[in-house]
Subunit: 236 residues, 2 copies
């Protein structure tokens, strides 16, 4: 039986981390909310489920519903060979994913520093201040941490964990994609200092299943409704 | 061998979720950074570890180092009977913890909407705007979600998951404690609408090991360096 992924139909957002794992795994899945009936079903499930997700994305596998992208990846990683089998390695992989989730939350807050319920236009001055710190301090700090992890991986610097691809390699690819879209200048500068991160990003983009996915209509283009938004005034 | 917890020595912060689980479990642990040498050791480990945590808290159990509070609780919960044994229940518990972590991040951002590297005094106007949305919209939305989970728990509404205490009950207690400290008026109003959350908060406070811990010098008082800060102007 195929997985059902539930996420907003018009943005990559946090759902994209799940989509990339499903695509790389070659798993059968339906991106349910891409059609209007599916979107209505998603809203109903958030209201009615015995274990209601707080927000999309969530994944349905038979009777099990799992929310929070990091928890979904923990689940999928173990089932599809996208995480180490040893418990310590699995937990380390998850820890990296949680830190990637922190990057994503901070990237979102650059354009919504004052509140998720307000428009960007209503918090533009605050966004300018927040984006400055994000791009000058946080992007380099986060990417340097990933660079260090790659450099210290005893199995080589091609992957964050072990000698094969795990879901955090896919997620780091997506974070770099998003940062490069939203903050092209700041990200280019940071990647010059973190060549292993840049190399991993390039290698993931060339994996056959990922490449096919990125070239397909299943990949929603970046846009200014998502988490990573390109507002030129926020780039340095 | 006892656990070693590494966290900032002068705040509850994200370390407190780990402390509460260790205390309830009756586990032996050392809160390493509470003395200056330990604090120096913490800083070295973040620099030097093969698997360096991005930030405190992290837990050392023998040779294993685990960062990210939600990942630490995933680890401790399974070892100390503070999480369901079935995989779906364990994942559901973890999903709730990740949502609690989202509350914590948003609570932090009420006083630091523009940047973690700046003082509160330098972003007070922005904080007033962000806190308004947090207290009027986000606190009720989050607490209502926890209320719904309690109401729908097929094993009764005394716990978020199952019929016995899990680490998310402890974490929800701590989130309510923090919200009530930082936003006493807004939180009192929200808790009137979420009686099960209020009852769970009261019940956790009365558990013998938690009560003993809260009365001990091991519990650091809330203060204006932590995540939950009481700035009266931010409460409604």
């Amino acid at each position: 039986m195929s997985y059902e992924l539930y996420y907003w139909p018009s943005i990559q957002g946090r759902g994209e981390f799940v989509r990339l794992a499903l695509e790389e795994a070659g798993a059968e899945y339906v991106d349910v909310a891409r059609d209007p009936e599916g979107l209505a079903a998603m809203m109903r499930m958030m209201d009615d489920a015995e274990r209601p997700p707080f927000a999309p994305p969530f994944l349905k596998d038979g009777e099990t519903i799992i929310g929070q992208s990091a928890a979904i990846l923990l689940y999928l990683g173990a089932r599809h060979g996208l995480a180490p089998k040893d418990p310590a390695g699995g937990l380390w992989t998850h820890q990296i994913q949680l830190t990637l989730a922190d990057v994503v939350a901070e990237a979102h807050d650059t354009h919504h520093p004052v509140g998720v319920g307000l428009y960007y236009e209503d918090q533009k001055d605050e966004a300018l201040r927040r984006a400055k710190e994000f791009r000058e301090s946080r992007i380099p700090k986060f990417l340097t941490w990933f660079e260090t992890i790659l450099a210290r991986n005893p199995d080589g610097d091609a992957h964050l964990v072990g000698r094969t691809l795990t879901y955090v390699d896919l997620s780091l690819f997506q974070v770099v994609e998003g940062l490069a879209y939203a903050f092209p200048k700041a990200t280019r500068r940071a990647l010059e200092e973190t060549p292993r991160v840049a190399a991993l990003h390039g290698a993931v983009a060339q994996r056959p299943r990922i490449k096919a996915y990125l070239d397909s209509p299943r990949r929603i283009p970046f846009n200014e409704d998502g988490i990573f938004r390109h507002y030129p005034e926020l780039d340095g």
